[in-house]
């Protein structure tokens, strides 16, 4: 089941992408595409057009996570978007929630935190696709 799920991970630091990819792999998700900045994220998102989840770092060059979130949401209300940020201030969280983000992870994160978000993602998938693939 998890084999058909496509995830896009965006962060300008390779190591961070690596960690996320690793954690996702441990939860069974192998199809993870990486993006390096905001523009690249949008490009890849539109190009493949088949991502179930997008994980965005807020601090990225050439369009930050919030801008990418806004643009993605403008066209696709269903894709599961997770914001990753070192900032846990209420304003950021509230504005991302207002833009329609599905999950919020505060760096540094733990596997358990990611686990919680992935759990929510899986519930979200079930809702979209009631019968198990």
């Amino acid at each position: 089941m998890a084999k058909n799920i496509n995830i896009l991970v965006a962060d300008d630091i390779a190591a961070m992408r690596g960690v996320l990819k690793e954690i996702l792999y441990e939860h069974g998700y192998e199809n993870v595409t990486e993006a390096f900045n905001g523009e690249d994220t949008l490009l890849k998102f539109h190009l493949f057009n088949n991502f179930h989840m997008v994980m965005l770092d807020i601090n990225m060059p050439i369009k930050n996570g919030m801008q990418v979130l806004k643009e993605i949401r403008a066209e696709n209300p269903n894709v599961f978007v997770v914001m990753v940020s070192a900032d846990s201030s209420t304003e950021i969280i509230k504005s991302s929630l207002a833009l329609g983000v599905n999950g919020f992870i505060v760096k540094p994160y733990t596997a358990a935190k990611i686990g919680g978000v992935i759990h929510k993602f899986e519930e979200h998938l079930l809702k979209l696709n009631p019968d198990p693939a």
Binding site: I13, T90, G116
Partner: protein, 832 residues
């Protein structure tokens, strides 16, 4: 008015007419004159005279022609004869036409003379020998004669013309006169006609009016009668006849209807001019109103009858209605008076209640505060202290009870009293109640027992809290009002009504019969002296009965003054299993005991986040949790709680629902929205169902009530925290092979970071420092180096806040740490 005008107009016209018509007298003359004027001879008169002139002139000519041999004698004579004839005719005509006969006689004479001369002349001329000298002499005589004739003719003409002009003037005047006369006459005729017409019309109208008046009484739809002085009916109109027919009376009977005193009265008023009397006569089905007018000048009575039955009926109805309304008003007033009295009494009772409550609340507070103060200041031995603390605890519980009762009351008044139906272990309830009641009984030296009087189901469906509330209320009352003897709780089950039946019986002071019906009313105790002696808010029984009713049952009471009282409580049992009944009390296993000490010994490990703004409650909860050995983070508002929960992993989160800055609800909503899946429990003083449902809806796993119920509290802790012995060490990140590679990569990048940090610090590029610190803080913890994250965060904050003097130091510290880690891990990884 109109009449007078017409009269005046008529008079005027008459006068004018008369004035004008007097000219008619002249009418005859005028007519004659006019006729004269239009005779054929008048106008041609001048013509005739003209002709006469010509003839005379012609005669002259003839003579000259003859004289001058121009004409023959025969012609001359012929013409002369013609002329003479014409002349005579003319003269005749002129004579006839002319008025001046004197002048015409003169003319004739002159013409005769002229004729003679002419004859003479002709005779002179006739002979073969003409006597020219004679002829000349005659001619000489003729000329003046002709001139004279001409003059006479002129005079006649003049007179004639004068006469003509006079006549025309006259006829002109006559025409005017005639016209005026015609007008006058016609006006006169018109006036007369008008007058006559008006008069005729008046007469006709009067006639018809009189006819109508004559029929006035005949046509009147109301009965009208004429009676003579003796009372005999002289005339009765058709309406009377109809009425009499309708009423089946005869005229005589009608007369008899007049009351006797009326007849006397009429007799008395005989001389009173035109008096009017009115009276009513009521027959079986009708009421008649008689109006009697006494016409003294005619010695007659006119009687007018009106059928006022309808009016009478309306009057009667109106009066009846009026009476009814009066009665209603009386009843209403009485009702209002009763309501007012009740309201007054309720108000009084409420005031008494408030005074009572105030007293009830202050009473336990006194020892609570007092003993607590005592314990602060004095040194007591442990036994005394224990006693004081027990009393404080006891009084605090009592106070809680009273407050709960008042809350229950306000819920009842707002119609918000609720019960929650769930499976209930009947034996457990009995056990719980027994624990409390037995203690209270022993304190007073009374006997207490719980007995079954019929088999009861082991499990029922009801609200256990409320059942306990009711039973404890009645039991505490029973124990309160009994000084010696026995208090029993009897259990039974009625399969016919599917109800549990509890009986609380005591051998106490009893309740007087007259107070029994007020027993379950709010704010009442048997009497106020009871309140003073025994305390209490007077609400317990009221609330208990309401609850019993909500639970599908009721409470009833039997009492014998000074001997004892029995309260019977029935509640619906709901769904039961008829197979699992018991005929004896089965106490639950001793193992399940809820003593505080057992709970306090509980040892757990894990991470707990508590969000609570009250410092005292913070202290309390911290004490309990830290005592188990678990790790605890305490925050004071929802925002901090949210930030903490997002940044860290907690095994359990306890969230107070009413906090400043950001409340519990909002924090939980945001946490769940961002994907936090830690267990969250709401700490709430609210036990209302809809609030609990709301907490569940936003994603709470459960709730803990305030004040803290230890059993519940430790249950929750035990559920989500692991026992202390288990390995509870979780790595931030599980170390798989790939991950190790990444960690290696990270460690390898540390020197680079160190270099860049130092360079940025030297060139005072604060933004660069902040950015580097930000990256390191994000990565450090993720790779298993939380200390890097910590230090990096501090550096980042300082750099952003511009604490430049701190920066160098912080950078130094961070670089030292990075160096240490780098050296450590490079050594560990070694050759890969």
């Amino acid at each position: 008015m109109l009449q007078r005008k017409i009269w005046l107009a008529f008079l005027f016209i008459l006068t004018v007419g008369i004035a004008v018509s007097t000219r008619i007298v002249y009418l005859g003359d005028s007519v004659q004159s006019i006729s004269h004027l239009f005779l054929a001879e008048k106008l041609p008169l001048s013509q005739r005279i003209g002709e006469l002139h010509l003839i005379v002139a012609d005669e002259e000519r003839l003579l000259y022609e003859y004289y001058s041999y121009t004409a023959t004698r025969e012609d001359f004579l012929k013409q002369r004869i013609q002329n003479m004839e014409r002349l005579n005719l003319l003269i005749k005509q002129i004579e006839a036409a002319s008025e001046s006969s004197a002048k015409i006689a003169e003319l004739r004479a002159r013409l005769a003379g002229l004729g003679q001369l002419s004859d003479k002349l002709s005779s002179t001329l006739a002979f073969p020998r003409v006597d020219w000298d004679e002829a000349r002499a005659i001619l000489a005589q003729i000329n003046p004669q002709v001139r004279q004739v001409e003059m006479t003719l002129a005079t006649i003409t003049e007179a004639n013309q004068q006469a003509v002009s006079n006549l025309s003037e006259q006829s002109h005047r006559s025409v005017l006169t005639m016209v005026r006369s015609v007008i006058g006459f016609s006006v006169l005729i018109f006036g007369v006609a008008l007058f006559v017409g008006y008069y005729v019309i008046t007469i006709i109208r009067e006639g018809s009016e009189r006819r109508r008046l004559a029929l006035f009484a005949e046509r009147d739809p109301n009965p009208v009668l004429r009676l003579n002085a003796a009372g005999k009916v002289l005339y009765a109109n058709p309406a009377t006849t109809k009425l009499l027919e309708h009423l089946n009376l005869s005229t005589a009977q009608l007369a008899k209807l007049l009351p006797s005193d009326l007849q006397q009265h009429l007799a008395a008023t005989r001389d009173a001019p035109n008096s009017i009397t009115q009276f009513e006569v009521t027959l079986d089905t009708h009421t008649l109103e008689f109006t009697v007018a006494h016409l003294t000048d005619f010695s007659e009575f006119h009687v007018y009858i009106k059928d006022v039955s309808a009016r009478k009926q309306a009057e009667t109805k109106l009066r009846a209605h009026h009476d009814e309304l009066e009665k209603l008003v009386e009843i209403r007033t009485k009702d209002l008076e009763i309501a007012r009295d009740e309201a007054l009494q309720a108000s009084q009772t409420k005031s008494a209640f408030i005074a009572n409550v105030s007293h009830e609340v202050r009473t336990p507070l006194t020892p609570i505060i007092g003993f607590a103060e005592t314990m602060l200041h004095d040194d007591q031995n442990p036994e005394t202290r224990k006693g004081l603390l027990t009393s404080i605890l006891h009084n605090a519980r009592h106070l809680l009870n009273i407050i709960n009762e008042i809350l229950d009351l306000s819920k009842i008044e707002a119609n918000r009293l609720e019960v929650e139906i769930m499976p209930v272990d009947t034996m457990q309830i009995m056990y719980d109640i027994n624990a409390i009641a037995d203690l209270l009984a022993r304190e007073k030296g009374l006997q207490f027992s719980i007995k079954l009087i019929s088999p009861v189901p082991l499990k029922i469906h009801s609200d256990p809290t409320r059942i306990k509330q009711i039973l404890l209320n009645l039991l505490t009352n029973a124990l309160k009002f009994t000084d010696k003897g026995q208090v029993d709780l009897l259990l039974g089950f009625n399969p016919l009504t599917n109800q549990m039946e509890f009986t609380v019986s005591d051998t106490g002071i009893g309740i007087p019969q007259d107070k029994l019906d007020r027993l379950f009313k709010a704010f009442s105790q048997a009497d106020s002296s009871t309140t003073r002696r025994f305390g209490g808010t007077g609400l317990g029984l009221y609330i208990s009965q309401r609850l019993a009713k909500l639970l599908g049952g009721d409470i009833s009471v039997k009492s014998i003054d000074r001997e004892g009282t029995q309260f019977k409580i029935s509640i619906a049992a709901g769904e039961i299993d008829p197979q699992s009944m018991t005929s004896e009390i089965i106490w639950p296993q001793i193992g399940i005991s809820s003593t505080h000490t057992a709970k306090l010994d509980l040892k757990l490990s894990g991470q707990v986040l508590v969000a609570e703004d009250s410092p005292d409650i913070q202290k309390l909860i911290s004490y309990y949790i830290l005592n188990t050995g678990a790790e605890l983070t305490v925050v004071g508002n929802g925002q901090l709680a949210m930030e903490a929960a997002l940044s860290n992993d907690y095994d359990l989160i306890l969230m107070d629902m009413q906090m400043p800055v950001m409340g519990g609800m909002e924090a939980i909503e945001i946490l769940r929205a961002t994907g936090c899946s830690s267990p969250i429990y709401a700490l709430t003083a609210n036990a209302m169902r809809e609030d609990r449902e709301a907490y569940q809806r936003i994603g709470c796993n459960g709730f803990l009530s305030k004040p803290i119920e230890l059993e519940q509290f430790f249950d929750v802790l035990a559920t989500h925290l692991k026992p202390a012995d288990a390995h509870a060490h979780t790595n931030p990140v599980q170390k798989s092979e790939n991950l190790l590679r990444l960690i290696t990569g990270f460690v390898a990048s540390l020197p680079d970071y160190i270099g860049r940090l130092l360079h940025a610090a030297d060139s005072a590029e604060h933004d660069e420092i902040a950015a580097l610190a930000h990256q390191l803080s994000g990565m450090g913890g993720s790779f298993g180096f939380p200390e890097i994250s910590q230090k990096a965060k501090i550096l980042e904050t300082a750099a952003k806040n511009g604490e430049y003097n701190e920066l160098t130091n912080l950078v130094q510290q961070l670089c030292e740490l990075l160096t240490k880690i780098s050296e450590q891990n490079v050594a560990a990884v070694g050759s890969s």
